[in-house]
């Protein structure tokens, strides 16, 4: 529902657009921060391609956080984005230099690789699941993305995908998982 208030600040408007699923908001967010991020990466041994890559990663993480309700507005969104980029870039540099990464920043961003699940996302196994996901039907794919990526509750998923209720969605999710496991075996 669109807010009746006109005085939402820039950050609040951005968050609202993302919660509404407006991907154009992400594009705007990207372009607003491109200069700052590029300057940072270029000053820290990177090039423009690195900067674009980091910024893409960061805005996608930001999108995930907001959409899944895990985003805490403790600092400006641009500050949060910058903190993500700093973490990602320090990790990448550390990998390049075989050094240990620095400590987390107090800007509200916790390194995703601290979680066992997030650590897996970059793995080869996850890449195979990614590939297998493309082989199952679109309704299943949508359902699994809503549950595992956007972390939506079953009630929401049932409403979005047009199931009768949450129980139906749960049953469907079980079938979709099985379909994905079968596809994964084929990929392997």
């Amino acid at each position: 529902m669109a807010s009746p208030l006109l005085f939402l600040n820039k950050d609040a408007r951005l968050l609202e657009r993302i919660r509404d699923g407006d991907e154009e908001a992400l594009v705007d967010f990207y372009e607003e921060n491109r200069g700052v991020i590029s300057a940072y990466i270029l000053r820290n041994s990177g090039n423009q391609e690195d900067a674009d890559d980091m910024l893409q990663e960061a805005v996608v993480i930001f999108w995930e956080r907001v959409r899944s309700g895990r985003y805490e507005h403790t600092a400006k969104t641009s500050t949060f984005l910058f903190a993500i980029v700093k973490h990602l870039w320090s990790r990448r540099l550390a990998r390049k230099r075989k050094e240990s990464p620095g400590e987390n920043d107090p800007d509200g961003y916790v390194d995703p690789e601290d979680s066992p699940l997030d650590a897996l996302v970059a793995s080869e196994e996850a890449a195979r699941v990614h590939m297998a996901l493309s082989r199952i039907g679109e309704p299943c794919r949508a359902l699994l993305l809503l549950f595992y990526w956007e972390e939506r509750p079953m009630d929401d998923i049932a409403r979005i995908l047009g199931f009768a209720n949450a129980d139906t969605a749960k049953a469907k999710k079980y079938q979709c998982k099985k379909a994905l496991e079968r596809a994964l075996k084929e990929v392997a």
Partner: protein, 433 residues
């Protein structure tokens, strides 16, 4: 639970892997995992599926983002997969309802090359305008009537003047950094500079260890104007030459001292200047509001806020507005209490004596002792609140004021040691659109 094979519960398994269980619950389940290899295997499998799906979501979104931005593909996504997902994602987005129907799913890539030319042209135009304004300002200064006294300059009652001064200073070399620092600070306070620019400056300051000199810069800017006025009073013709006279340097130093001594007055004047600037910027919006009638008065919207002495932790003290009275947000009640996350709003909070409020508004106050009559002017990006409290707040309290959005039609002003809650009538706000 610790002794049961809980991994057969699909819901529990999914929520465990996604980290959505409370700590106590999670620890109890983990206890069982330590003694159940089969269950660990199941959890690992679920975790892998979740990771793969999350990866797919991220890569798809990145691909769409790159497409919208017109960027080349990254190295981590295979081209074949990406093409496949571009076809798939449209159906997913439609199914998930995550794209507004009036938007094209994939807009044409933006033209970055053209943007560089536009930026260069805009920069050149800005240089010409700033130079022109600076020249005109100095050329016409002696012929203009005396608009401001030196005291007004020092207190910042005419904020645009320091800003102009800073711009003029920026062309003279030595004072440019201080002037830019003050200009950035002013713009930040006035909400006229983008967050990205402010962040860039903040970052640059951190990186390079530059210390801003607000007091000196603030003094240098008005002193330009002051020097010009002083010369006007003397009836001299060539302003540009006299700006560099020793007298002007003395006046500048005097302004530095005045600003340092009268800091509070400056803050107050700056807030007034911000109000004035915002009033000018929102003239169009106000005109629309006036023509729409309703709750909007000539000076914005009048609303009563409920004040209470509540310390921090405001999220626990705000009730869902749907259960409050029509015009005010009720404090925490006995039913339907919801902890809400608050979102900060760019806002300016000032105060005036209650006696200055229109008599009609004073008479219509409903809960005299507990409420703060407030005038609200809003734009697409900012909010200006003028409080008319029974007893005046300290300057410190006003400077510390923070405004948060509670819900679509509610907000709170957080002052040191107290809150003021507001609820707006949504239909009246919508009429102003």
């Amino acid at each position: 639970m610790a002794d049961e094979h809980w991994t057969t519960d699909e819901d529990l398994l999914g929520h465990f892997v996604l980290g959505k269980l409370p700590d106590a619950r999670r620890q109890a389940l983990e206890l069982h995992l330590q003694s159940c290899p089969e269950c660990r295997k199941r959890v690992d499998g679920e975790r892998l599926l979740a990771a793969g799906v999350q990866r797919a979501g991220r890569e798809d979104l990145k691909a769409r983002l790159r497409e919208r931005l017109g960027l080349s593909e990254g190295s981590r996504v295979a081209g074949e997969e990406e093409a496949h997902y571009d076809v798939k994602k449209a159906a997913y987005i439609r199914a998930a309802g995550s794209v507004r129907p009036d938007r094209p799913t994939v807009p044409p890539p933006r033209r970055r090359q053209n943007r560089a030319w536009v930026f260069a042209a805009a920069t050149a135009a800005c240089v010409v305008i700033v130079t022109g304004v600076g020249i005109l300002n100095r050329w016409w200064a002696p012929q203009e009537p005396l608009l401001a006294t030196s005291d007004q300059d020092v207190t910042g009652a005419t904020a645009p003047s320091p800003e102009k001064g800073a711009l003029a200073n920026g062309t003279t070399g030595a004072g440019s950094q201080m002037a830019r620092a003050e200009q950035g600070k002013l713009k930040k306070e006035l909400g006229t500079e983008s967050d990205a620019q402010i962040e860039a400056e903040r970052f640059a300051d951190r990186q390079e260890g530059k210390a801003s000199a607000p007091t000196t810069a603030a003094a240098a800017a008005p002193s330009e104007n002051m020097a010009g006025l002083e010369k006007q009073a003397a009836g001299k013709k060539d302003t540009r030459e006299r700006m560099e006279e020793p007298v002007a340097a003395e006046l500048r130093q005097k302004d530095v001292d005045d600003v340092a001594r009268d800091r509070n007055a400056e803050e107050s004047g700056r807030a007034q200047a911000a109000n004035e600037l915002e009033r000018l910027q929102t003239a169009d919006g106000l005109a629309r509001a006036q023509s729409s009638g309703g709750a909007f008065m000539d000076q914005g919207t009048w609303v009563e806020g409920i004040a209470s002495d509540v310390p921090r932790g405001i999220g626990a003290n705000v009730e869902h507005p749907a259960y409050g009275k029509p015009d005010v947000l009720q404090p925490r009640g006995n039913r339907n209490h919801i902890d809400r996350k608050l979102e900060p709003i760019d806002a300016t909070v000032t105060q005036r004596p209650l006696a200055d409020a229109p008599p009609l508004q004073q008479q219509q106050r409903r809960l005299q002792a507990q409420t703060v009559l407030t005038n609200v002017i809003q734009t697409d990006s900012t909010l200006r609140l003028t409080l008319y409290p029974d007893s005046q707040l300290s300057d410190y309290a006003l400077r510390q004021a923070q405004v948060y959005r509670v819900a679509d039609d509610s907000l709170v002003v957080v002052l040191p040691g107290q809150l003021i809650r507001y609820r707006f009538q949504a239909p009246a706000l919508q009429r102003a659109r």
